[in-house]
Structure formats: C-alpha cells, structure tokens
Symmetry: C2
Subunit: 222 residues, 2 copies
C-alpha cells in the first residue's frame, strides 16, 4: 500500500516515515508544500535506512502530488494547517482513500502545556469537516513523541489510540500502526472521542518535564 | 499519619481505603455524610483486611468528624459534591492539612465518555478555590479504576499523577501514593495541569469499552 505522509519533513512526520519504511512493506512518500524540500528529506531518510541495511526507499514531493496515488494520507502538519492542507489536496483524493489525523492543539504557559481545544471540538474533527465526500477520517498517532519515533534505535513498547466512524478505515490504519515494531494500536471508539486523546499529548510533555530521567514519553494502557 | 477518605464508602474511596490500609502504615478513616453508613463500611473493610491476615483497622464517621484529626483528607466524592464537601468540613481543617482531589467530571453520549470540564477549569481547581487559607490542595489518584483498586488480588503496575502548587504537600501525597504496592506516583506539575489529567479518566473508559479483554484500565508512562 502507498502511504503519503504530508508534513513528512519534520516532527512526527519524520518518525512515522522512518518507522513505516523500516518496519512495514508499505511504500512511503513524504509530502511538503515545497517539493524540493520533500525530495531532499526523502533522500536523507533513504540514506539513513540504507545505512541500517534496509532496502526501503522513501520518495518525496509536493503534498497534492504524493497524495494523488496514495491510499492513506497522514496529515503530519501543525494543527492550524490541517484544514488548509486538506483543502489543498482535496482534488487528489478519491473515494475510499483514508485521511489520518495525528495532530493536536497545544498552548503553553508557565505551568506547562495545555490542550488548546479548537472551536470544532478537536483537530481530528477539523479534518473530518474538511474531508471530501467518501474519504474516511481516522485519528491515530496523536500521543507519540517525535524524537523517539525518529530514533530507530529507541524501543517503543507503547500504545497508539485509533478513532474513527468508518470501521474499514479504522482497520486499515490499525493494521498500518501495528506494523511498527513495539507499537500497539488500541481502538478508542469514534471521532467524537478525539478531544481526550488530543489532551493526552500535552500531559505526556508535562510528565516528562517534571520527572528526572523521563523524556519523549509514550503511554501504555494496562 | 492519619488519612481521612471522604466518600470512602464507595467507588474510588473504597479502593483507596483498602489499599492504603493494606499497604501502608497510615491510619485510615473513611467519612460519609451519614456517620452510621461510614461506620458500617469501615467495619466491612476491617473484616476484609482481617480475612487476609492484615491487622489494619479502618475507622468510620461523619465527614467533618473524620477530617478533624486527619493530616491528609482525600475528597473521594462525586465532582458535583467537592465544593460543598470542602465547605462542610472547612471548620475541621487546620493550616498545614492537605486536601487531595481525585475526582473528575464526565458526561456520556453514544460514542463514549467525555471530559466535562467545569467552569472553574477543573474539579481540582474547584477544590483549590473552596479550600481554607493555609490548606494545600494536591490532585492525585484521578486515573485509577475503582474496581481494580478495591480488588486487593488485582495487580496494579500503573502510575498516578500528582499535581499541586505546594511542594511539601505534593511530597506528602507522593509518599502516600508510592506506599501502595504497584503504584508509581509521577509529578505532573502545578494545579493548572489538572484538566489534561482529569481528561484521561474518560479516555481510559473508552479504551476499555472498545477493546476485548481490557477492563479497569490504568496507564503507565514509559
């Protein structure tokens, strides 16, 4: 399966691209508004994978171009860009495609990080409202620390929560997520359950910042 | 140390009373608005502890009475009762006492459970606003499943998050929490970080309800 990771040049997108290319048979393309930037980063990821003996090429291109022939499109862009990004690639999406939303809104004050709940109810909901007819939206990968994901030497042993209102799309994303070594995908219900999942991301940062020796935290449900 | 658990006759209160009496050297008193109900439950808990060969008496009484000689008072009451409960026991609290808030507000719809954020910002904040001068407020025990806590045969192996603006009070509560076998207490910063912690409770329920074989979930940060 071809998976496009928009915003795949940085943050959580880099980690998802590397892990998916490393651990799964899927073909990974990363997207950016700047095609050259995406191509350069894709080359960098391919070199890193090659240095580990992994024969897994990551390709890169402009967002709409990489989305065009992907079945699953991950919106690894900042939360204030998700609506615009979906609109920009809408013409490249076909019925049956799946949009995956990992973003969360956060604000910071002197106490720490806090969930910045969008007016729509959640970032995942913004994606759902912008998605073209027939394109399912699934929330996943919200609570993964970018640096830990991007470091292929780091063990995961953590969970990711999957939400959505389309069972087939959820199954597709769950299977993709479970393909990453050490990542367990759990079903957290429908899209309406997004705010509590998005709220967990700032909490993970707060816990990491307040406890010696903890950093790039994930969570395991048990 | 004497610890009073108000609302200790049910839900999370029962589990905290049994675990603290079982695993720590603290003297545990449970409170209720109905003294007789608290006394009967205390006797029930003592019998259960005795049946396990544990010589740990739990006492019971009316909320204000058990709070009067306790250093730490846990408000294991429903979220819409925390403000009233603090007002009802205010005369029994002395400077240096610590109020512990484990409650969270939730509402339920067809998709699952959701965080019902109070106007004050969090349930923990309601407690802080109602607390008498000189009495510190600490948030803890928010994300523990009541039934699992109350079943002394169940292993924990999970974390609880501690928040507060008074470092001494936080240390006191952290030490108490760590006294429970299998429970790790992590520092999650100040009281302002309460909403994200309170939001985790409905998320745990949603995950448990959507995954076969998962129930009474807790969480481990790793």
């Amino acid at each position: 399966m071809k998976i496009a990771i928009l915003g795949g040049t940085g943050d959580i997108g880099e980690g998802l691209a590397l892990r998916l290319a490393s651990d799964t048979p899927h073909r990974i393309a990363i997207g950016s508004r700047d095609a050259e930037k995406a191509e350069n980063k894709a080359e960098e990821y391919t070199t890193e994978l090659d240095s580990r003996g992994l024969d897994a090429a990551v390709t890169g291109g402009e967002n709409a171009a990489v989305a065009a022939d992907a079945r699953v499109v991950v919106l690894a862009v900042p939360p204030y860009h998700v609506g615009d990004t979906v609109e920009a690639i809408a013409g490249s999406l076909a019925a049956g495609d799946v949009l995956v939303s990992p973003a969360t809104g956060m604000k910071r004050d002197e106490d720490g990080f806090h969930y910045h709940k969008p007016g729509a109810g959640s970032v995942t909901r913004i994606v759902a409202e912008a998605a073209p007819e027939g394109v399912a939206v699934v929330g996943a990968f919200h609570n993964l620390a970018a640096a830990r994901l991007a470091n292929l030497d780091a063990d995961l042993g953590i969970d990711t929560l999957v939400i959505g209102d389309d069972d087939d799309a959820k199954t597709t994303v769950t299977d993709i997520a479970e393909g990453i070594d050490g990542l367990r995908a759990l079903d957290a219900g429908g899209l309406a359950n997004a705010p509590e999942i998005e709220s967990l991301t700032p909490l993970l940062i707060n816990v990491a910042q307040n406890n010696d020796g903890m950093h790039d935290l994930g969570v395991q449900f048990k």
